[in-house]
């Protein structure tokens, strides 16, 4: 675990109020927390963010401190339990917002305003607050109130229009990508807004639409359609320009090899390494144009070869010959992947309830700045600390709020 305490953390001194749910905003603030921001999560037994969601540690189903969903996404954050359905609870949340630099949410559009916690209300007490609000369809526009989880965003964003097998129907990109992708854009936008505020003192509201985050993946298709009236196509793993470009079946069940040939040198290297030098003289494959014309025959010929190969060994063979290639990794294999591990890309975080668990770390390294991986908080672990030390709730008021159920 690389906890370089001697180095400054990039976001030291930045305090974030996190009203996130699902993955998008919790993922955004996960990286902010690792980078040193103090992230205060407001939840309650009525609204337990993702603590009720699987996967759970074995034998600990439904325990609020045993959810992998929560413990992965809330590493390095603080948990404060406040019941926002009560007026006093909402007042506490406003007071926390008043001492934060940044506030984030991904409720359905309008929920925050109904709670009296919208941007106008918070900016009235804290004008320089940076508020980022992440919605499936954004916070502005006729569809702002539409509901949708990641799969709806995927279907709406246009990405599904270019995802699919040749000639087949639209398919969904994996990894619930609209969530972490829009969360990553959110983190970048927040840091840019912090920079701006440091220069000018000005805070602001940031509207993130998950579908617009996805749209950044498909500029070529958008431009070809709007400029040339060319309809998007689903072409499996093939590329518009290069060939071969594919994912080929290997010897063991459901194992696959990705091969990407970008120029004639690597085509020659590929044919020789695969033991099929005769393809170089085959008129169907001799030139890029010919290969594109005969792409089905080419893909079939390559698969005849790859079916006799182990995916990892074949990737090594092609790499040694100078051809970009790699095995398709399953998600469980990624945790053990030697390259990711060699670079500190997988971090093990210990936790009093579920023990040490591995997850993906920040994917970049910094030589002059630190990052900090701490365990996820237990439910309500920081309620007293935040209320009494940070927002100045007196001990007697704290006792009264607690007895009244506001802090549960």
């Amino acid at each position: 675990m690389t906890t370089a305490r001697s180095l400054h953390l990039p976001l030291e001194g930045v305090r974030v109020l996190d009203l996130g749910q699902f993955i998008a905003i919790p993922f955004c603030t996960l990286w902010l927390a690792w980078l040193g921001a103090e992230v205060i999560v407001v939840e309650s037994r009525r609204r337990m963010t993702s603590r009720t969601a699987p996967p759970f540690a074995e034998g600990r189903e439904k325990e609020p401190n045993a959810s992998g969903y929560f413990n992965h996404l809330y590493s390095s954050k603080k948990s404060v339990t406040v019941d926002m359905t009560t007026a006093e609870g909402r007042d506490i949340v406003r007071r926390i917002a008043g001492v934060c630099d940044v506030m984030v949410d991904n409720f359905s559009t309008g929920v925050l305003e109904k709670l009296g916690l919208g941007y106008e209300a918070i900016a009235a007490i804290s004008p320089s607050i940076i508020m980022l609000s992440n919605g499936a369809f954004g916070r502005v526009g006729p569809m702002a109130n539409s509901r949708g989880l990641h799969s709806a965003v995927n279907l709406f964003s246009g990405v599904a229009d270019v995802t699919g097998y040749a000639g087949g129907h639209p398919r969904l990109l994996g990894g619930v990508l609209p969530d972490p992708l829009s969360g990553t854009y959110s983190g970048f936008a927040i840091m840019a807004a912090i920079y701006h505020r440091q220069k000018t003192g000005q805070g602001q509201f940031i509207d993130v639409a998950m579908h617009e985050a996805m749209l950044t993946l498909i500029p070529e298709a958008v431009i070809d359609l709007t400029m040339n009236d060319v309809e998007p196509q689903r072409v499996g793993n093939r590329d518009r320009v290069h060939a071969p470009h594919g994912i080929y079946r290997c010897q063991e069940d459901d194992t696959w090899l990705a091969v990407s040939v970008k120029d004639e040198n690597s085509w020659v290297a590929f044919c020789k390494a695969a033991g099929h030098a005769e393809w170089l003289n085959d008129p169907r494959f001799a030139t890029l144009d010919a290969r594109r014309m005969n792409i089905s025959a080419l893909d079939m010929a390559i698969e005849q070869w790859s079916l006799g190969q182990n995916a990892h060994a074949a990737a090594d063979l092609l790499q040694r010959a100078g051809v970009p290639a790699g095995p398709v990794l399953r998600l469980d294999e990624m945790l053990d992947n030697e390259q990711l591990n060699a670079r500190g890309g997988v971090v093990s975080i210990d936790h009093p309830v579920v023990g040490p668990r591995r997850q993906m770390a920040l994917p970049w390294r910094m030589d002059s700045l630190g990052v900090e991986y701490r365990r996820a908080p237990l439910l309500g672990e920081h309620t007293r600390e935040v209320l009494t030390e940070l927002v100045g709730v007196s001990e007697s008021d704290y006792a009264r709020l607690e007895a009244g159920g506001v802090l549960s």
Partner: protein, 401 residues
């Protein structure tokens, strides 16, 4: 093309100077994100130009390095300098630019950077306040450091290929439907975005330390780090599940991707209340009340049969009809939109989701800002540079104020 240029407005990163030595999507996209927020970005290209100048899409399919759609998108809001880094004067000019820069961004191969003396170690020593941002397929060290990787290979080794088609979609057949990569640059765009977040963090960190930083990103790791939902499952359940439909990958029930009368819809009702609303919307069919489907556990156990029951219903309705039901009862049901439809709807117009551009004399639309900052709004300040368009200007006159 300068006719498109609008008066400079101050973005949140006004005053930040970025030098980009990028190629393709990843590095150029990092720099574009800075340019979009008001930083002064100087893109340095060699005499042959960025590879995406040769990729298109081109107006009417006619190849033209000054009218490649992908290049125009990735390099708007930048100035362009053409430098021959293999010549002494070219390299000297590069150092002149670096001497004035806050951030350097590159995704060209590490070996080439070393040969030019532009590797991170050398630059960090020579320019102690510079933030050096490097993107490589697998990172600068480790057993795969020198291997060849690109969009497809890092996508596959970052776990995304195996998880596509993904939840609540899945492969119908493990042999006929391989792990899938979409026809776009997913891994490179994500690497570009993540590198921008890293460089931005380092810029804020520099405000505290006064020191530069090497932000060193692996494209494979960037892809992998976004796989949080599937990795948490592997970490907690440890299961090795295949790519076919199954309750482990699909999550809480019902959560389906289904055909309808005129296309496809997603039906995501992960919570009890969603299920109740869904049953009501279907007109309270008797089967839905049976104990086979009345609890989440039962729905998960009987998900195969449940899927078929739902298809019977969705096939009687169009995507828009299903969506109308959903809007009325706050149900997460949503239909597939083509890109064409997305470009035509009022929501896109109101949000300024797309921006009009001129590409080689033809009008086109590109994605605009992926987030809207009210205090510092995005604009297309200037279109992508022609090769070497601003070489003299940025070297002789210094950077624009």
């Amino acid at each position: 093309m300068s006719g498109n240029a609008q008066p400079s407005i101050h973005g949140p990163l006004a005053g930040v100077t970025v030098v980009e030595l990028g190629d393709g999507t990843a590095g150029p996209y990092t720099a574009k994100l800075f340019g979009d927020l008001g930083a002064d970005v100087i893109k340095v290209e060699g005499p042959e130009g960025d590879v995406s100048r040769r990729r298109g899409p081109f107006p009417d399919g006619r190849a033209d390095p000054e009218a490649s759609g992908l290049f125009m998108y990735l390099n708007s809001n930048k100035l362009g300098a053409m430098l021959d880094l293999d010549s002494k004067p070219g390299l000297a000019d590069m150092h002149e630019l670096l001497g004035r820069a806050d951030i350097f961004i590159t995704n060209i191969p590490g070996k080439r950077l070393e040969a030019l003396g532009l590797d991170a170690k050398t630059l960090r020593a020579r320019y102690p306040k510079l933030i050096v941002t490097t993107i490589s397929p697998f990172g600068a060290d480790g057993p795969w450091a020198d291997k060849l990787g690109d969009e497809l290979v890092t996508f596959a080794m970052g776990g995304m290929a195996y998880s596509t088609p993904g939840m609540p979609d899945a492969a119908d057949d493990l042999i006929k439907e391989p792990p899938l990569h979409p026809a776009c640059f997913v891994a490179e765009t994500i690497a570009g975005l993540v590198a921008a977040e890293g460089a931005m963090a380092a810029l804020l960190g520099r405000g505290r330390t006064g020191e530069g930083c090497h932000v060193e990103l692996s494209q494979q790791a960037a892809m992998a780090s976004l796989q949080i939902r599937d990795v948490m499952t592997a970490s907690y359940v440890g299961s090795r599940y295949n790519r076919l439909l199954n309750p482990v990958t699909i999550g809480r029930m019902p959560n389906f991707y289904l055909p309808c009368k005129d296309g496809y819809v997603t039906v995501a009702g992960p919570m009890e209340i969603h299920w109740d609303r869904l049953v009501e919307t279907m007109g309270n069919p008797a089967w839905a009340k049976s104990e086979l489907y009345s609890t989440e556990i039962a729905r998960t156990a009987n998900w195969v049969a449940l899927r078929l029951k739902l298809i019977e219903w969705t096939m009687t309705l169009t995507g828009d009809e299903l969506h109308a039901f959903a809007e009325k009862s706050q149900l997460p049901i949503f239909p597939f939109y083509t890109i064409r439809r997305l470009t035509e709807i009022e929501h896109s117009r109101v949000r300024q989701t797309f921006v009009e551009v001129d590409i080689g004399g033809k009008q086109a639309r590109m994605p605009a800002a992926p987030f809207k900052m009210r205090g510092t709004p995005w604009s297309l300040r200037y279109p992508a540079p022609r090769l070497g368009e601003h070489t003299a200007a940025v070297l002789k006159d210094g950077l624009p104020a």
